[in-house]
């Protein structure tokens, strides 16, 4: 039996896979893991988004995978380039937690998780990609893995059972 390849997506990165490979990102806190896939073609892309909007960047070259407003569109293109069909794409997302709850520090970064989720959804809507499942918010970190063959997103939190959506 051959081992199934797992493609890892680092923080502020994105990748695309075709079955039987699976795709995974670890330790999502306020970041959002967004998966865009075409189940008929068994291809999927995943981005580990850190911040809601590229307008938050201070000069220099923008890393598209880092910001929700640029990552969603770039990810759609990647999935289509890998064989995904426009109009058949669906999305699943997880993350966007608030890891620390005090309000005296962190300023507007305290609620960045919720803002990340909101912007990812706004962009998906703009591109007509329906969100079919999500596990967002709360106060826990998440590790997620998507299998393009089955369309299942597995979510693991530090002290909990694996959840599948």
């Amino acid at each position: 039996m051959s081992t199934i390849q797992t493609v890892k997506v680092g923080i502020a990165e994105m990748e695309v896979v075709a079955a039987p490979a699976v795709i995974r990102t670890c330790g999502l806190g306020s970041c959002v893991g967004v998966v865009i896939y075409d189940s008929g073609k068994a291809v999927a892309g995943m981005a580990h988004v850190m911040l809601p909007h590229s307008s938050m960047a201070r000069g220099g070259v923008v890393n598209a995978a880092k910001y929700a407003d640029t990552a969603v569109e770039a990810l759609c293109k990647l999935v289509i380039a890998a064989g995904g069909r426009k109009g058949m794409l669906k999305a699943k997302l997880a993350g966007g937690a608030q890891m620390f709850s005090f309000s005296s520090a962190g300023g507007d970064m305290m609620h960045i998780g919720a803002r990340n989720v909101e912007e990812v959804k706004r962009q998906l809507e703009r591109l007509h990609v329906p969100v079919v499942a999500e596990d967002v918010g709360g106060h826990s970190g998440r590790t997620i893995e998507f299998n393009p063959q089955t369309g299942v997103l597995s979510i693991r939190k530090a002290s909990q059972e694996i959840k599948e959506i």
């Binding site: 923080i11 330790g27 806190g29 911040l51 938050m56 201070r58 937690a97 890891m99 005090f102 970190g141």
Partner: protein, 210 residues
Amino acid sequence: MGDIFHLTGAHIDILREIGNIGAGNAATALSTLLNKKIEMAVPRVQIATFAEMMELIGGPEQVVACVYLRIEGEAPGNMFFVLPPEQAERFVRQMTGDDSFSFQGEAHELGCSALQELGNILAGSYLSALADFTQLALQPSVPALALDMIGAVLSFGLLELSRAGDYAILIDTAIYDGRRPNESIDGHFFLLPDPESFSTIFRALGVDSG
């Protein structure tokens, strides 16, 4: 702001010295608190992409007890005191005298606030040494505690940096029990200055930020 990532050897030495002075002071405070000898390793100054950084600190999935606080003042940034959960439990037992303390337990609020207080003391001593050394006004925020995947907690400290680029500079100082270097305590102080703080720090110490 110039390109903070064009650092020379002299800049790296200064950042390492900051880790040395800050963590040295905190380790002394911890020694006094626990009445045992605490030693520290030579601080590592790591310049890496966010993804690389997560791997360098042991992988983003590793579960840790983490005290986080925001540094406010003339050189803002983020500070984390991180240790394995079982060691955090041991710290709490030593501090509170409650030998049954566990994070899984029912009433762990007292333990959590003890750990938060420990973080407060350590971070406070780290920062006051840093403020003395640089002559900069630095104030810690109220500390926050999390028991979770290190990637999930530490990424919060990368948010400000990430607006300026795709690399982070992390000053990492490990501490351990002086008599048993391979066990007992394996804590880390992580200092993540905001991008604009680097030139402030270098200027305060009389080095051109380039």
